[in-house]
């Protein structure tokens, strides 16, 4: 029965893509093909949408990294005389915000915190979740039950609610927001890692390795990691887009960074009062979040397709 079960349809904000189903045939092909990563890269480069999204993201990241060199103005310096100028004003390409600060500059600087706050939780969750899932899948039995039942508890909370609950209880702040999002993303990553590990463990080559005297360490390092990390990594990339939206969402609620720090979600919040005076400028930070989020989604889909060698 190949119909997607509700378990793989964890289509919450937290998992916008169904968990990759492990297919032993593909894994074997992946291992046997020489230059697998080169094939993947070549396929990625042929995918125009993925390349375009990657270039756009690269541009936004480079702008954020080199913001002090590239931004036209000071992100903190405003002028009461120049508040809420429209897009395309003299000297202010994208207008000014409610305190008269240059929007273009603040959008460029805003990428720094927004990207870090969106990507870091996914990296943390990937490391911790993959560890928990692989250990659970490898050990099996009580250890697995213990890990997976604990993770089930977090599934009892809708992801936005969980993120808001944790960061709300911890109090506003960048670090707390990232901790909250990490906690939100560990369970789905661990579930994917556990299910793929369990499937790999049941395959003949693991049995063969054990019979030929391979140690647990070797089996984990070669057979488990080699086959599990790929699907788990692809799954994690599909979480970045959600994480960006949630991280900026927490800032939007006032749970992330504090003014006057430039961050897209927070800028969107402080500009809310300006929608009657200058709607174009007020919508800009959200457009940035949207652009980055859709690019990450497209890239994740592209990567998934490129790594699926049987296609």
């Amino acid at each position: 029965m190949s119909m997607p079960s509700p378990a793989t349809n964890e289509l919450d904000l937290r998992g916008t893509a169904p968990a990759p189903v492990f297919d032993p045939a593909k894994a074997l092909v992946a291992q046997a093909t020489r230059g697998y990563w080169r094939t993947v890269l070549a396929r990625l480069l042929r995918d125009k949408v993925t390349v375009a999204c990657a270039l756009l993201l690269l541009a936004i990241v480079l702008l954020a990294v080199f913001a002090p060199l590239l931004a036209p103005a000071d992100p903190f310096k405003g002028s009461i005389m120049q508040r809420l100028l429209p897009i395309g004003s003299e000297g202010f390409l994208l207008g000014t915000d409610e305190l008269g600060r240059d929007m273009l500059t603040r959008l460029i600087y805003g990428g720094r915190l927004s990207l870090v706050m969106g990507i870091t939780p996914v990296i943390n969750a990937l490391l911790i979740g993959a560890f928990l899932g692989i250990v659970g899948g490898f050990m099996g039995g009580t250890v697995n039950t213990l890990i997976m039942r604990t993770i089930d508890v977090f599934y009892a909370f809708p992801s936005v609610l969980l993120a808001v609950a944790i960061s709300g209880a911890l109090g506003a702040g960048i670090f707390n927001a990232m901790v909250a999002l990490t906690v939100v993303f560990i369970p789905p990553v661990a579930r994917v890692a556990e299910s793929v590990t369990t499937q790999v463990m049941s395959l003949d080559f693991v049995e063969a390795a054990r019979a030929s005297g391979a140690s647990n360490f070797t089996i984990i390092r070669v057979h488990i990691l080699g086959n599990v990390l790929g699907p788990v990594f692809i799954y994690a990339t599909s979480l970045i887009s959600v994480s960006m939206i949630l991280a900026s969402g927490l800032s939007f609620l006032g749970l992330g960074t504090k003014p006057p720090e430039p961050e897209w979600g927070l800028m969107l919040n402080t500009l809310r009062t300006a929608i009657y005076l200058n709607p174009g400028v007020a919508a800009l930070p959200g457009a940035m979040i949207f652009m980055v989020s859709i690019c990450f989604n497209m890239m994740s889909d592209g990567l998934r397709a490129a790594m699926d060698v049987t296609q």
Binding site: P6, L11, T16, I245, A282, A283, I289, F290, I294
Partner: protein, 315 residues
């Protein structure tokens, strides 16, 4: 089915209990004293001790949990530190308003999702399918709180046809035309994610079912398209319903961002207040209510799905 029901109910109890543990422990991951918000900074030690006693904060943590749980089971979620009113009283209307918003949102999301998904599934590989898929990716990528602002800009600022804030003149949701206007924009905003996800699910299901051998067999037997469609519906229904049920739960729990944008007087708005006034009992109560609602909904979805699809029972 009866045994399945029992088994499923037995599984829900530990989950519900762990949810209460998580909600209870929110107090302890919160920095500072839970009383610090209501106490003046120069409060005397006696006053602090009295208040601690009053709120039960002088007891060991497991005892506090047991006390809190036994009260919660009886429907007493404590007193809001900020307003001094029972948390229950605050929760009632707010949850109701959120439920109304979530129901309207799912109504839009599920109808659009079912329609788009079915069409795309039937027209697999065509430009219609590709546009629907692109729409679905856009739907899950758009920050919905921003979309809400954009809708306000278009429909309230430029055209001035729909209200931008609140739930209507009475301050709460009511069943009349005047209040219906207030729910339109937040409901559309909140429906974007379920629309995208239901579309994706239904599209995948329909495409998968149409490719099965039994469909070819049905066609060979001379069934019309309408006859085949009935079989598609029957086979796609259990999974689609499950996804939609879970989405309703996510809308209930995840509405805080949209409620903030539209100042909708629901549970998300309440959470916001609780967080910024550091009102931990209110925070705990709201999260507990929403999470338990979600657990209950998942249970119902699971049972309905099992009732519809005998294959799950056998598995």
């Amino acid at each position: 089915m009866f045994f399945y029901l029992l088994k499923r109910l037995a599984l829900v109890i530990p989950i519900a209990l762990s949810v209460t543990v998580v909600c209870f422990s929110l107090v302890y991951i919160a920095p500072g004293d839970p009383l610090s918000t209501i106490l003046p900074s120069d409060a005397s030690i006696e006053l602090i001790a009295t208040l601690k006693k009053e709120y039960g904060l002088d007891k060991p943590i497991p005892v506090q949990y047991a006390m809190w749980l036994s009260r919660a089971v009886q429907g007493d979620l404590g007193t809001s530190i900020a307003t001094g009113r029972p948390v229950n009283a605050e929760l009632g209307r707010a949850i109701f308003n959120t439920l109304i918003l979530a129901l309207f949102g799912s109504l839009i999301g599920f109808s659009l999702g079912l329609a788009f998904g079915t069409i795309a599934g039937y027209r697999q590989g065509t430009w219609i399918d590709k546009s629907v898929t692109a729409l679905a990716v856009t739907g899950v990528s758009v920050p919905h709180y921003w979309l809400g602002m954009v809708l306000v800009i278009v429909f309230s600022v430029y055209y001035n046809v729909l209200p931008a804030m609140g739930a209507g003149p009475s301050g709460d949701w009511m069943w009349d035309a005047e209040h219906l206007k207030y729910v339109v924009l937040p409901a559309i905003t909140i429906s974007v994610i379920p629309t995208a996800i239901v579309t994706r699910t239904v599209r995948a299901l329909v495409a998968d079912i149409l490719g099965r051998e039994f469909v070819t067999a049905l066609r060979a037997r001379g069934l019309t398209d309408r006859g085949v469609f009935w079989h598609v519906v029957k086979n796609a229904a259990p999974t689609s319903l499950a996804v939609m049920g879970v989405q309703l739960g996510y809308l209930m729990g995840g509405s805080i961002l949209v409620e903030t944008v539209f100042s909708w007087p629901g549970s998300g708005f309440l959470l916001n207040t609780a967080i910024f006034q550091r009102d931990i009992p209110l925070l705990q109560g709201t999260i507990l209510a929403l999470a338990l609602f979600f657990v209950g909904l998942n249970l119902i979805v699971d049972l309905v799905q099992t009732a519809l699809d005998p294959r799950i029972r056998r598995a």
